[in-house]
């Protein structure tokens, strides 16, 4: 009797876990199916590589892809080194006192701040105060601020996974602290850092609110080359999607374009996430072997 009850309890618990997992996967599947089924009609090489035409009711999304690329690049160049160095300082150098704990909590909390707040902050700081103008640079820096908490936290966690004995071993051989970190800590933390950074970047690439006030534009007829591109307003995939889905005058007519844009954006983010997983896998294998 008792054994039977236990067996049922076991089955019930297991069932709840399975149900929760299936539910999560189902939501993802429904979203992906909805977007790709409605967007696949318009997806073509031409859609990806041509500019919008006829008041954005026809043509492709090439400028939005280019814009997202440049903005993401600025984000990476700003957020990755800054986040990495901050994490190294917090984890390896800073005394673990109350101030550092408060800083760490503040950073964690920043990752929960709504992106619209970053948008307004970026607008205030980069546009109003620093007057760098609505531009790729302002948008990228704002997205960089948004990703910083993720980069710092991921990098710090990655540094924490490197065993203390690697540091002690190197120090005992007469390595300086920086030599120890550079040669015997960072190489083993890189996969974790990269994974966290790419995931943060993927999130940034899909954000609309932070670029809304800092440089995203409705249309980008000329695609200037580097470095001029940094100082112009730009199109970006998430903003383009927002326009096509809610702001366009012929909203029903452009609906397929909105779905196509969503499909491309999701595709890009999936590729980035897959890259993160692959990098982690490669490094794990490498360090298992070596």
């Amino acid at each position: 009797m008792n054994a039977r009850i236990r067996k049922w309890q076991e089955k019930l618990g297991f069932g709840i876990l399975i149900a929760a997992t299936v539910f999560v996967i189902l939501v993802l599947v429904v979203i992906l199916y909805d977007i790709f089924s409605k967007g696949s009609g318009i997806l073509s090489w031409e859609f990806i590589t041509s500019k919008p035409r006829k008041g954005m009711t026809e043509g492709g999304i090439w400028p939005a892809i280019v814009g997202t690329f440049w903005v993401s690049l600025v984000t990476v160049v700003f957020a990755v080194p800054t986040g990495l160095f901050a994490a190294i300082y917090l984890n390896e150098y800073a005394a673990q006192n109350r101030l550092v704990r408060v800083i760490r909590i503040a950073i964690r909390n920043l990752s929960g701040v709504p992106s619209i707040v970053y948008g307004l902050f970026g607008f205030t700081l980069f546009i109003m105060i620093l007057k760098i103008g609505l531009s790729v640079l302002a948008g990228g820096l704002t997205l960089g601020l948004l990703t910083l908490p993720w980069t710092i936290t991921a990098s710090e966690e990655a540094l924490k996974t490197v065993p203390m004995s690697y540091r002690e071993g190197a120090l005992a051989l007469g390595a300086t602290k920086w030599q120890t970190i550079r040669t015997n800590v960072l190489p083993y933390a890189v996969p974790g850092m990269l994974t966290g950074t790419i995931l943060g970047l993927a999130r940034a690439a899909g954000e609309t609110a932070p670029i809304l006030f800092t440089g995203a534009a409705f249309f980008w007829p000329l695609l200037p080359s580097f470095p001029k591109v940094l100082t112009t307003q730009f199109m970006a995939l998430p903003y383009h999607l927002f326009i096509m889905a809610t702001q366009h005058h012929a909203i029903v007519k452009v609906r397929p374009i909105a779905y196509g844009t969503a499909a491309v954006l999701i595709g890009l983010i999936l590729i980035m996430n897959a890259a993160a997983v692959y990098i982690r896998y490669r490094f794990r294998k490498k360090y298992k072997r070596l």
């Binding site: 005394a95 673990q96 065993p163 004995s165 690697y166 540091r167 002690e168 071993g169 190197a170 120090l171 005992a172 051989l173 007469g174 390595a175 300086t176 030599q179 040669t183 015997n184 083993y188 360090y287 298992k288 072997r289 070596l290």
Partner: protein
């Protein structure tokens, strides 16, 4: 104190150590002889490992620690502000309780210390790696797979690799913190034989939990209890005719 037969390599005078407000070592004075094996014994928490780690300032990396007194190496106090801790640790090498090879190749593990000290000449590095692996009695077992991961070696081999890595930077003193405590009897025996060989070229200080090991490998033995150096003498005398009652009680297994 034992009657020295060899020159004195390292001297400590009234050395005390604190973790915050907790005093872990009280006024330790000791002369360590060159080319001999000195063993530190005592029950857990007696301060023997803390003392060992004080001799190459590894405790510096623990926040909130403080020292009093002197540790003299070549007449210079290693806690003097002018002393370069990097240089000190090159002279005073360390082997840890849990073998800690880096996740690199066998070759790169041994070469690590050389490279961080600026040795760039590949043939010089290779030569020193071979010397060090030979000195650690590991060369014959690994010479055909130097480029393989050090993580694939057995526990005993890993510990001898760590010894080779410490020897590669040519220290004067090698500190060993229970180097065989995680090893099987056969691997332990190899380490002990190695220690016996190494004292020809190095001064060795070994912390051990195992009193038979102390009796087998060491020339002088220091018995620590509650952060104090209770007795320090020739190993033979400590184990046959200790002066202190506490020492006798410990080595005969009445507590510990």
């Amino acid at each position: 104190m034992p009657n020295p037969t060899n020159p004195i390599e390292l001297v400590t005078r009234d050395f005390s150590f604190y973790y915050g407000n907790y005093q872990a070592l009280t006024s330790i004075s000791m002369d360590v002889e060159r080319n001999r094996v000195t063993a530190f014994i005592g029950p857990s928490g007696c301060g023997k490992s803390t003392f060992l780690r004080s001799l190459n300032r590894m405790n510096d990396i623990i926040p909130g620690t403080r020292v009093e007194g002197k540790v003299l190496l070549g007449g210079v106090d290693i806690y003097n502000k002018d002393v370069d801790v990097v240089d000190l640790r090159r002279k005073v090498g360390m082997v840890f309780q849990k073998s800690n090879p880096f996740p690199k190749s066998i070759f790169d593990n041994v070469a690590y210390g050389l490279r961080i000290h600026g040795e760039r000449n590949p043939s010089a590095v290779a030569q020193r790696v071979e010397e060090s692996l030979r000195a650690a009695a590991l060369w014959n077992e690994v010479k055909d797979r130097l480029d393989k991961s050090a993580m694939d070696l057995s526990g005993g081999q890993q510990q001898r690799l760590c010894i080779a890595r410490a020897l590669a930077v040519r220290p004067e003193i090698v500190l060993m913190d229970e180097p065989a405590s995680a090893l099987d009897p056969l691997a332990t025996q190899k380490i002990e034989e190695l220690i016996f060989e190494l004292k020809k070229d190095y001064t060795i200080i070994i912390v051990t939990h195992n009193m038979q090991q102390a009796a087998r490998v060491s020339d002088t033995t220091a018995f620590f209890y509650l952060g104090e150096l209770v007795e320090f003498d020739e190993t033979k005398r400590i184990f046959t005719n200790p002066k202190e009652k506490k020492t006798e009680d410990y080595i005969t297994g009445r507590f510990g």
